[in-house]
């Protein structure tokens, strides 16, 4: 239980992106991505997985975060996140 308590405390403290995260590329939806994705992990996961994922694969990654990892984001937010990832960090055409 000790660790669970720590987890909740730090969740409340977490600012969207920590100071040591390199900023993501500007673009529509970037604040939504930073506010949601960075609650659990550095946004370097996004920079690292680029630019090679197809729109379907980016969508599958966001779905995994919601379904498998329990990220509490709704459909509209998920759509905005996927659109940003595809536009800024997706496979080059």
């Amino acid at each position: 239980m000790m660790y669970r308590t720590i987890a909740l405390t730090s969740l409340l403290l977490a600012s969207p992106a920590l100071a040591d995260d390199v900023p993501l590329k500007p673009g529509p939806g970037v604040e939504t991505v930073e506010a949601n994705c960075a609650a659990c992990h550095t946004t370097n996961y996004i920079r690292m997985n680029a630019p090679f994922l197809s729109p379907d694969t980016w969508k599958a990654e966001v779905t995994k975060m919601r379904v498998a990892f329990g990220s509490p984001i709704d459909d509209d937010v998920a759509k905005e996140i996927v659109a940003y990832l595809v536009a800024q960090y997706g496979a080059k055409p």
């Binding site: 987890a7 992990h41 370097n44 690292m48 694969t57 990892f69 329990g70």
Partner: protein, 404 residues
């Protein structure tokens, strides 16, 4: 505030650097890695560590620079770090550590302190490779999503501890036991995220060389390599080597957890195994278990300049526990091969060092390759065995040096 303490430690180098100053880059990264990975990776010195290649800092994923593998034993301060989830107790929190052993197939559930472990059980040592299942994922073509590791999500150490089977015997294993469920002190940021838990087949847990280790290369485990106790499963990929181990459950049922039932799966039958994990197999996929035969050249580095008098290739080879029979090196891009000189054998689960001198060379590019064969006759792949999660890449490494 434990997490904050860890983050402060992890971010020490990056946070103290002025924003305008470029982060330090690794000396060498494979050109096969995704562009974004090469752009995002930095060289960072964590507390107690030499500089490692930072792929992510939260959760922490750091790989060992390839030149480290010119040593057969990977020093603790160069050993890679891999976490799935962001809540990692700091050293103060881990001082209250204990290990509970229970489950529906345990005769006598019990709780052990570190003093109990060291006092009540025979101690033993093994030299074994700990390799992340996804090592070399970043070199997959086409790329697959995940932590985009190069060659360095692995290391070889001398692990000292007690036998898992002895600890289980103290709790008493009932007939009908199927799996040993394992859990550690690290956990998810959000309560809804599945904790990182894994299990082992009960037959494997009876092997003499499956350990609960408190020491690595003669020192206590480093914090981020699993202090104070981690599971050592020689021959199996690092996903089973649970860090900060706090619970063992002797169970009659397969562990129901995302990390074994949905993640860490390979296509059924694609890779050889001696001990199938049948309680977690399904028709289409199996859990990833035993490693594949592989080798890495640590020196020279790809792109190095060498003289016409030649150079010595040095690296390591390993497999899933049959041991290495031969390593061959090519200095002409795979047209001809010569047997390398093997270092002393440190055991069938350890890195086997190898080296070979090129002799005098004509000026121009020289394409160096290495390939290992195990005592089971298994060889490195000649074409990539594609699988969705990017596991078990073992194509022979190819590097080009420039002779002048």
């Amino acid at each position: 505030m434990h997490r904050r303490a860890v983050l402060a430690g992890l971010g020490a180098v990056a946070a103290s650097a002025p924003v305008a100053q470029a982060a330090q880059k690794p000396g060498w990264m494979s050109p096969l890695l995704p562009e974004g990975t090469r752009d995002a990776a930095t060289l960072v010195r964590l507390p107690g560590k030499q500089p490692l290649i930072e792929l992510t800092n939260r959760p922490p994923n750091y790989e060992t620079p390839i030149d480290a593998f010119s040593n057969v034993i990977t020093p603790n301060d160069r050993f890679f770090i891999r976490y799935h989830l962001g809540e990692i107790p700091d050293m103060d929190a881990l001082k209250n550590w204990s290990l509970t052993i229970g489950g529906d197939a345990a005769e006598r559930p019990l709780k052990l302190t570190m003093a109990d472990l060291k006092k009540d059980f025979a101690q033993t040592e093994i030299t074994a490779v700990c390799q992340c299942s996804g090592n070399q994922r970043g070199l997959f073509e086409p790329h697959v999503p995940g932590v985009e590791w190069g060659y360095g999500a692995m290391g070889n150490a001398v692990w000292r501890g007690v036998r898992l089977k002895d600890v289980l015997a103290k709790a008493g294993v009932k007939p009908g036991a199927l799996e040993i469920w394992m859990g550690g002190a690290d956990g998810p940021v959000m309560p809804a995220t599945p904790p990182f838990r894994k299990s082992l087949p009960v037959q494997l847990a009876q092997r003499d060389d499956v350990l609960l280790a408190f020491s690595m290369n003669g020192q206590p485990l480093p914090h981020l390599n699993g202090f104070p106790l981690r599971v050592i499963v020689p021959g199996w990929t690092g996903t089973y080597w649970i860090k900060h181990l706090t619970s063992l459950e002797i169970s009659t049922k397969p562990l129901p957890n995302f990390w074994i039932q949905k993640a860490y799966r390979v296509p059924a039958g694609m890779f050889p195994v001696d001990l199938p994990f049948t309680s977690q197999n399904d028709n289409a996929t199996w859990p990833i278990t035993e490693m594949v035969v592989n080798s890495v050249v640590a020196t020279p580095l790809d792109g190095a300049k060498v003289t016409r008098s030649g150079f010595t290739v040095r690296g390591v080879a390993w497999d899933r526990g049959h041991g290495i029979k031969t390593v061959e090196v090519s200095f002409d891009g795979g047209t001809s091969w010569k047997p390398a000189v093997l270092d002393k054998d440190l055991g069938k689960y350890a890195f086997r060092g190898f080296s070979l001198a090129s002799g005098a060379l004509p000026p121009g590019p020289c394409k160096v390759m290495a390939r290992a064969v195990s005592n089971a006759g298994e060889t490195q792949a000649t074409t990539l065995l594609r699988n969705p999660a990017g596991y078990h890449r073992n194509l022979p490494q190819t590097l080009t040096v420039s002779v002048a």
